[in-house]
């Protein structure tokens, strides 16, 4: 299994069964050196199992894991040259902060002077020097988080594994620590695998995102790919807030224009792809999706693009978020969320003309949910 590859971390057809049930099915993901891979999915999707297999806590049923071309699947966790930051931080409660950071070096027999030097170095990076003599119980959540990272950092590993490291922090601290992890990654350039269920974390941190569901990879790609070209309806629904507008419609050619109709409405598709035109002939029923930011008030010139199509709808719900205002509309079966500028002051019950930017529309097969380009 010594195939050469430019990839640094290779997860190769990894499968895992628990008592006959598939926890992971044939998962293959590659990460380049210095990359930041985020594993995301709903709970029970197998993301944590996958991380535990990378760390060496769970043996694989089949498949292989390689770092820099070397298989690590049979190695003990301490021999894999990885470091891990746990969700609960898992700090040793009876040791001081310095003791926690230095424990790995202690077990490896690193001389004391060297140990202290490295502890100080890491403490400086994370700005936890004043805490070195304290016990974990005397630290705040954010401080524990830093210590947990310090313990990982001091190992200077080939890869960091993060298991939902921010989920125990309050909202404000989470944003700060997120930025800090990003800066740390930029500074160290070490490869990171990061598990989360928070899509904002995934979008902001990752160079590559893998979306999992029921132990299967749904899509692997850059944050841009995942957001703008979701491979199927699951990814489209899971990523993005508010969730993507989706409706099942009917493609038809009329007057030389391809139209998508649903209920009493129809939208024009400018410059449709060949696949869609073909689809209109063979299998006209299709799932249509469009994100809220691509549905705007027609009065808002700044948001209106050339390839758009307009529908008159009634406002049911107005949700101001400060910078933008989201409105929910409902007319029969057609309900959409749209993003409008807040100076337009939309009100519930009002009729509104909504522009649909059809160049940003997504289409999925109704049966399989797979993207149609």
């Amino acid at each position: 299994m010594n195939k050469t590859s430019q990839h640094f971390l290779e997860i190769d057809s990894l499968s895992k069964q628990f008592a006959g049930v598939d926890a992971l099915k044939d998962v293959s993901i590659d990460v380049e050196e210095g990359g930041f891979l985020v594993l995301i999915g709903p709970s029970g999707c197998g993301k944590s199992t996958l991380l535990n297999m990378l760390a060496g806590f769970e043996p694989a049923t089949s498949g292989d894991i390689r770092i820099a071309g070397r298989s690590i699947a049979d190695l003990h966790p301490s021999k894999r040259d990885i470091a891990m930051v746990f969700q609960s931080y898992a700090l040793y409660p009876n040791m001081t902060v310095a003791g926690n950071i230095g424990f790995g070096m202690e077990t490896r027999g690193v001389p004391k002077a060297e140990r202290l030097r490295k502890i100080d170095e890491v403490a400086a990076i994370l700005q936890i020097e004043p805490l070195l003599k304290r016990k974990p119980a005397q630290l705040s959540g954010g401080q524990r988080q830093r210590v947990a990272m310090g313990r990982a950092l001091v190992r200077d590993p080939q890869a960091f594994l993060f298991d939902e490291p921010l989920s125990n922090l309050d909202a404000r601290l989470r944003v700060d620590m997120r930025a800090e992890i990003k800066k740390l990654h930029a500074r160290l350039g070490t490869t990171i695998v990061y598990v989360t269920h928070d899509q904002i974390e995934a979008m902001t941190l990752a160079t590559k995102i893998a979306v999992l569901k029921h132990g299967e990879v749904q899509q692997v790609g850059t944050p841009d790919d995942i957001y703008h070209r979701p491979a199927n309806t699951f990814v489209a629904d899971f990523m993005g807030s508010p969730a993507m507008n989706r409706v099942t419609g009917h493609l038809q050619q009329s007057d030389g224009t391809l139209k998508l109709s649903f209920g009493d409405y129809s939208l024009d598709l400018h410059e449709p792809s060949a696949a869609l035109q073909e689809r209109a002939r063979t299998q006209p029923i299709i799932d249509f999706g469009i994100r809220a930011e691509n549905v705007n008030d027609s009065r808002d010139d700044a948001m209106t693009s050339t390839g758009s199509s307009t529908l008159p709808l009634t406002i049911e719900l107005v949700e101001p978020t400060g910078s933008d205002t989201f409105i929910g509309t409902r007319d029969g079966d057609a309900h959409f969320t749209a993003r409008v500028a807040n100076y337009l002051h939309p009100r519930p019950g009002e009729r509104i003309n909504l522009n649909f930017d059809m160049s940003k529309a997504h289409f999925f097969d109704t049966e399989s949910g797979v993207r149609v380009e």
Binding site: F57, S78, M84, F86, Q87, A90, M95, R108, R151
Partner: protein, 291 residues
Amino acid sequence: MKERLQLWVPKLVLGPSFLLILFFVYGFILYTGYLSVSDSRMLPSYGFVGLENYEKLWGLRHWTGSLKNLAIFGSLYIVICSVLGLMLAILLDQKIRAEGVLRPIYLYPMALSFIVTGTAWKWFLDPGIGLEQTMHSWGWTSFEFDWIKSRSNAIYTVVIAAVWQSSGFVMAMFLAGLRGVDPDIIRAAEIDGASRARIYRRIIIPMMRPVFLSAFVVLAHLAIKSYDLVVALTGGGPGKATELPATFMYSYTFSRNLMGIGAASAIIMLIMIFSIIVPYLYSELRADKQS
């Protein structure tokens, strides 16, 4: 009217229990306290004699001997139970398939009366009939084990029987503690390359400190209260070799009719227990409030 009554119902419900405890526990403690400074002999009597009973008490070799026995018994009992309990808990924590069978076996003696335990061990340790005799009948004729008949060693037989009864319970306490350790901490230590022995020594056992404390408190107060086991196993003998404060109090109060001295010894026992229990409960309840 009904509303007002509703407000009083909780206190009326709790009241009887509170009054019972106040009277039968704390009132009685005060009463015994008074008897300990009175001239009571066969029956309570209320002539005040100051600390005379305490002075007499500390002059009695019977009493100082029972305190010495308690010190030997108590320290061995606590140390052996803790070490054995921790060891068994760690061994059982190694994914033992038969754990469900073994654990109840280790623990069942705790469900027995000390009188039953004493009866069984008294016979087992009796050189004329028990272990020694069995070894002889198996052909090991030089085997000797007569501690229970020996003035200097009999106290150790009390330790043997008491450890047999309580060590399983300490095992259960430690096992619960071990099961409560965050598995991620162990994983973190594995990534740090620590061996299993090292993980136990440096991380898990130090985390068991609260369990050690609880075990100490429970075992210490059981040791000070020990009465039944001694009565059933040795009757305090041979001679006074296994007398403990609890048996001393009983015999001085009810057999020797020196109630004042008996009451004084009970007060000393109470002070010993409270000096261990009160700080412990105080810190436990405070920790409770904070969390």
